[in-house]
Symmetry: C2
Subunit: 416 residues, 2 copies
């Protein structure tokens, strides 16, 4: 065990929110409260931007009951951000500011909850603070509905989004089959470069309520093949076709299908701002077939639907937050918490470990191609074995008048 | 009590599905099984079209457990239809066919579950059969997420859709406030001429998670006012604006806002096929403001989300189905089941009564204008008092592997 490090801890949230991202915050905060080494507990308002702006919430002023409610409150309660730090040998100014704020509050523990970009941010800040001989233990906490982080079996947030995507698709399946008239339903699911969520739309298939066709970004998308697929299903299934597509599908040349319609905007990480792919394809189908076409975008709903979160996911999200704090107290730094699954165990069983941040940042974990059926009709058993445990259990969200009772944080800024 | 009428009963579903429409079918079927007068129990495949095509399911061949599961299975398990019968003095052919099929199966009880149009269908068939001296008791069972049926305090299906709309809006509220950048979220809710569901998006407002602006079809929509409203909220609320609009909003001249973009298709009842209104308005806002705009359509999801159905709604939907059968056995005909609320009672209390079908068909019940705040910021207390009881209680949907376990009907056609 390393030497005892006394000081404040800071927790930040970054990137796209999830239904359970605040469960990790709850895990970290409630764990931090147990340790005498931790002299202050802060939450950064809008992640790194809150550090740069010196806007930190004093978590010790929050009600314990409200911190508990964070487990069932979706969408980055502290505020999130998409902010990419330049390498510090290119521009040191933001790093200087971060060090200044860390010194001001004596922040010796920093936990950053996010996806690939956030792990990169952890890595950069940690390297910089080391170069300045400022002792601070930094642990990344994984989070993303896209499930595309390397080094962890799966990502907190994915299980709940998968459960939403699968359940909603089952319901849409029934709705689509209500009339005796034909319909082509094109459902668009999030996932920029990894098709985990799109694949999860098939989870109701064993019960008979899955999509007919799925298109993941792992495989180049061909519009002619798509038209042919729709035609074949329509012929076989009385003009009822449900196709699920990832927002991130690209053609052979690497051009996003959504770009066929609109000029592309990019966020501050340089990622394409996607959406509208289902509408583009609906237009193409409507031109080719005399069948009603309806595009549906799960849009933001799939990443904030805490009312249908997976209990397993909530618990794991809480645990990765708590584990990060425990490990930092033990002396660990420069790591990301990973969920390790015991594939030898009879039932689903996970443990938590630390993995190298540097190794996982900026890499994306894709769906294995061999798990995707070549005729685009669904996923193999390997995929079900992988995903089904992650959606198990109900959220049992606390309610008030039969509506969700979300956490109400006071959000009092730390004394400057 | 009227004379005992022995014969088969037929149940049909019509119009847009709801999350709880099958609960009414379950109520009717399970009640019908108790009565010796009822010699056969049939379900019409795709409503009136199933009668015209002589495609009736033999419900007695179904598993009792699966019929129970209908309570938590969304979206017209027998199949629905939008088919408008011509007045029989204009074209008698379909009525002749209906009589023929009724005689063939000795159908003496007919229950039709739908909205305004379905009540009109009940009325026409009943009048025709009377003119032919064919004794058949016909009861309409209300259903619509739009809540626009006259004669009943509220409609089965509405409470569950309202709960979905409100809960999802609360989640979207949190998602929208995650970043420190501005966003105008425009959420489109179903409701052709009545804004009940759009109004229900405000139910989370007392908790602090409601929309900023709502636009119901009851009030003519003015694009300039809308732009001004968005501008004012953006100025006051740090460029965060959530506007909820009904798909059915029209301008002063009566033109649907969705028509601003697309040429209008009409369904077989002559209703405009709506959708895309949020996209039209998003385009207009994007032209006027330098704020990110995101349109979201709840689309089909709001009418099939059985996973978040209201327990109160499920029970009432079941009860109206069972009540229809009981009353028909007692000799009643030519009526619609209505839910009557006791507004004098200390807690929410309803009873069921029969009301005239002829009086309610083809009329629409609108949201009282005085319940809509003139500044479009929300609804008055009267609205909350009316709606909140309807969303109470959780669905507790049966699950299989943590996904919904929907009813699997065998759907065996009745012997011809």
């Amino acid at each position: 065990m390393s030497k005892k490090l006394v000081g404040a801890c800071l927790f930040g949230q970054s990137g796209g929110p999830t239904a359970v991202i605040n469960a990790s915050a709850a895990g970290a905060f409630l764990e931090a409260l147990k340790h005498e080494e931790i002299t202050g507990i802060y939450g950064a308002e809008h992640g790194v931007r809150g550090i740069l702006n010196d806007r930190l919430f004093d978590i010790r002023q929050e009600d314990l009951h409200e911190l508990e409610l964070l487990k069932n409150t979706p969408s980055s309660a502290l505020g999130s951000v998409r902010h990419k730090l330049k390498p510090f040998n290119v521009d040191e100014s933001e790093y200087i500011r971060i060090l200044e704020v860390f010194q001001k509050y004596n922040i010796r523990y920093f936990f950053y909850n996010g996806g690939n970009d956030s792990m990169d941010t952890c890595n950069k800040i940690s390297k910089y603070l080391q170069s300045q001989n400022y002792e601070c233990r930094i642990i990344g906490i994984p989070k993303t509905i896209d499930n595309d982080l390397f080094g962890t079996d799966h990502c907190p947030g994915f299980g709940s989004a998968a459960k939403y995507v699968a359940t909603s698709l089952m319901e849409l399946y029934l709705d689509t089959h209500v009339y005796d008239t034909g319909i082509v339903l094109i459902v668009e699911v999030m996932g920029r470069n990894a098709g985990w969520l799109t694949a999860a739309s098939t989870l109701g298939a064993p019960q008979g309520f899955g999509p007919d066709l799925i298109y993941l970004p792992e495989i180049p998308f061909d519009v002619d093949d798509f038209i042919e697929d729709v035609k074949n299903v329509a012929a076989r299934k009385n003009n009822k076709v449900i196709a699920v597509i990832s927002e991130g599908i690209k053609d052979q040349s690497g051009k996003y299908i959504s770009e066929y319609l609109v000029s592309l905007k990019r966020d501050s990480f340089g990622h394409a701002q996607l959406g509208g792919t289902a509408t583009v394809l609906a237009g193409i189908v409507a031109d080719k077939f005399k069948i009603k076409v309806r595009p549906i975008e799960y849009s933001l709903l799939q990443r904030c639907s805490a009312h249908i979160a997976s209990k397993t996911d909530i618990e794991e999200a809480f645990n990765v937050g708590a584990f990060a704090v425990k490990q930092a107290i033990q002396g660990e730094t420069d790591k990301m918490v990973a969920i390790i699954r015991d594939y030898q165990a009879d039932t689903y069983k996970v443990s938590y470990q630390l993995v190298d941040v540097a190794g996982s940042a900026n890499l994306e974990k894709h769906v294995p191609i061999e798990w995707i059926k070549p005729d685009r009709s669904g996923m193999t058993q390997e995929f079900y074995d992988y995903v089904m445990p992650l959606i198990q259990g109900e959220a049992n969200q606390p309610k008030e008048n039969s509506l969700p009772r979300f956490a109400h944080l006071k959000k009092i800024y730390a004394k400057k």
